[in-house]
Amino acid sequence: MRDRACQSWVSLAERKDSFVFLTGDLGFRALEPLRAALGDRFINAGVAEQNMVSVAAGLATQRLDAWVYSIAPFCYARPYEQIRNDVCQHGLPVKLVGNGGGYGYGAMGATHHALEDYGSLVVLPGMRAVVPAFGDDVEPAIAQLAAQAGPGYLRLGRCEAPPSWTPPPFSAWRRLLAGARGVVVAVGPLVGPLVAALLERPEAERPAVWLLGVLPIEPAQIPADLLDTIERSGALLVAEEHVSTGSAGEAIARSLLERGVHVACFEHVCARGYPSGRYGSQAWHRRECGLDAVSLIERSAKLWSEVG
């Protein structure tokens, strides 16, 4: 996704003189085209993320569109107070870009994982998080953030879409697959392997798969046909590479209560940190948390059987 993002920013920079990009010394073999396109508006702010975010806030007070880039945890956790005070309390349109959301940096270790990023950010005033799941999502996700008057967060990952399958265009809610055995709502690229595993199954033998791409959730904007499918099937599984507290799963459960939608069986499959105390690739962590496609399909089937 990073290359697609770079292309999108180059395109954005060509259209907007106000575009300024700051990186916390990240972008080797990825952001060079952007650096070349932006000249002095591409700023390597060094390994100093607190300063970088406050500088971005200062730039934004002068009507510049400041984007801040780093590995996800260094983008949201290290400078959290700067995001809260300098960006969000002032309602400034600073855009944070966290590369490698969830367990994206895998075996690089826990310091490089971002398991609480969008949950801890969207509690801040005016903050909206955008989570593209596929390569084709990146450009519209960046365009959506660029058009947003307030602060924003872009969680980048790896495109894991099945080959020769085209997802529907990016939006807050998308139905990726129709299905008759309950509903799975996923956040982020982990949905790719799930779609790949379910794609060839008949609709009658698989759950419907929906994808959420924008947080926080606005309950009134949850599609009526999703609510209807959830209520009729009675089985909802939410899957995301994020810890439970502050998650999309929590917000969906609350939204369903507020909308008066009854769900007989609800399960939230999420990041559980490091249950074994050991570390590995993103795929390994997903398996440990039950977030891999095989586990998700098994749990969804079990949920469906409980409803039946």
């Binding site: 508006r41 060094g46 100093a48 607190q50 406050s54 500088v55 007070t61 002068q62 700067q82 002032h90």
Partner: protein, 312 residues
């Protein structure tokens, strides 16, 4: 030196209009600044504004009295650090800053001194100051965001003002705009790592329009800066970061103004001015006393403080 500068003579923050009217008294100029309203948007009567002052000492005397009254009425502390920073804020706003310039108060706990400074400029009315710390007010103990142009940024958590100021200075350069950015911070604030990050950044980016002022009163919340953080040699530290640094008496208006003169160092990058100040300046029982970082005034002490300042 422009001693005798009338109260409220700062260049108004609009275009070049002031250039045609530089010698008019404040009462003739204030309409160019902005309509005067209190925090509830009500018009402020001209009679609420302080009378024209003839020199910094008189201006500072009135400002100190108003600052003490404000803190007494609100029953709050942080007085010591307000009194140490007040002279620099008055000099900046009355003698130095122009319409293109920006002031960021990084030591947000000196908000009272900033409110009083804006009061001396007629940008806040007397009625507005009665709202200090009040319910439903905009005049919090630390400045809040988005309510008056005189306070372009909310601060209070230390170590934020300088990096934000660096961002503003960088934006000016990128957009080819004029304007200096003055950032006033405390000395204890230099225990914050983000300040050193900002110093590296500002120095590397050669942000020549950025001027850092340090209210070096030597005391912080629970000890002296030496006892707590051992940061007495800030000048050497700044210079080691490539920052041109000077020092002056932070209560001497002429010295502050002189130190703030544009060409004083010939620096091609940001510069710093270490203001030697006294916590609680102007009130003998507060001066240099740690407890006046936090303590509020009772009636008896308030009366003593007022009597001292009125006596000059």
């Amino acid at each position: 030196m422009r001693l005798g500068c009338p109260l409220g003579s700062r260049k108004p923050r609009i275009g070049l209009a002031w250039l045609a009217l530089p010698s008019l008294p404040f009462t003739s100029l204030h309409f160019l600044v902005r309509p005067l309203t209190d925090t509830l948007g009500r018009p402020i009567a001209m009679t609420d504004l302080p009378a024209t002052s003839t020199d910094h000492n008189e201006l500072a005397r009135r400002a100190r009295l108003r600052l003490l009254r404000m803190h007494r009425e609100a029953g709050v502390g942080h007085i010591g650090g307000n009194l140490s920073a007040l002279d620099a804020m008055l000099v900046l706003h009355h003698r130095v800053m122009g319409s293109d310039d920006t002031f960021i108060l990084s030591k947000g706990h000196a908000a009272g001194a900033l409110y009083v400074t804006l009061w001396t400029l007629g940008e806040l009315g007397d009625e507005a100051l009665t709202q200090f710390h009040a319910d439903g007010s905009m005049l919090s103990g630390h400045p809040v965001a988005r309510w008056t142009p005189g306070i372009p940024f909310a601060t209070g958590s230390l170590g934020h003002g300088l990096p934000v100021s660096a961002g503003i200075a960088l934006a000016h350069r990128l957009q080819g705009q004029r304007g200096r950015v003055f950032c006033l911070c405390s000395d204890g604030e230099w225990q914050e790592g983000s300040n050193w990050e900002a110093l590296i950044f500002a120095s590397h980016q050669r942000l020549a329009s950025l001027v850092l002022l340090v209210d070096q009163n030597g005391l912080q919340g629970f000890g002296s800066t030496d006892e707590v953080g051992g940061i007495a040699n800030l000048r050497e530290r700044f210079e080691a970061f490539g920052i041109a640094a000077t020092e002056c008496d932070g209560h001497d208006a002429a010295a502050i103004e002189s130190a703030l003169a544009d060409d004083v160092t010939g620096s091609q990058g940001p510069r710093a001015i270490l203001l030697h100040t006294v916590k609680g300046k102007g009130v003998s029982f507060m001066e240099g006393k740690l407890e006046w970082h936090y303590l509020p005034l009772d009636d008896e002490l308030y009366a003593r403080a007022v009597a001292e300042i009125e006596a000059g």
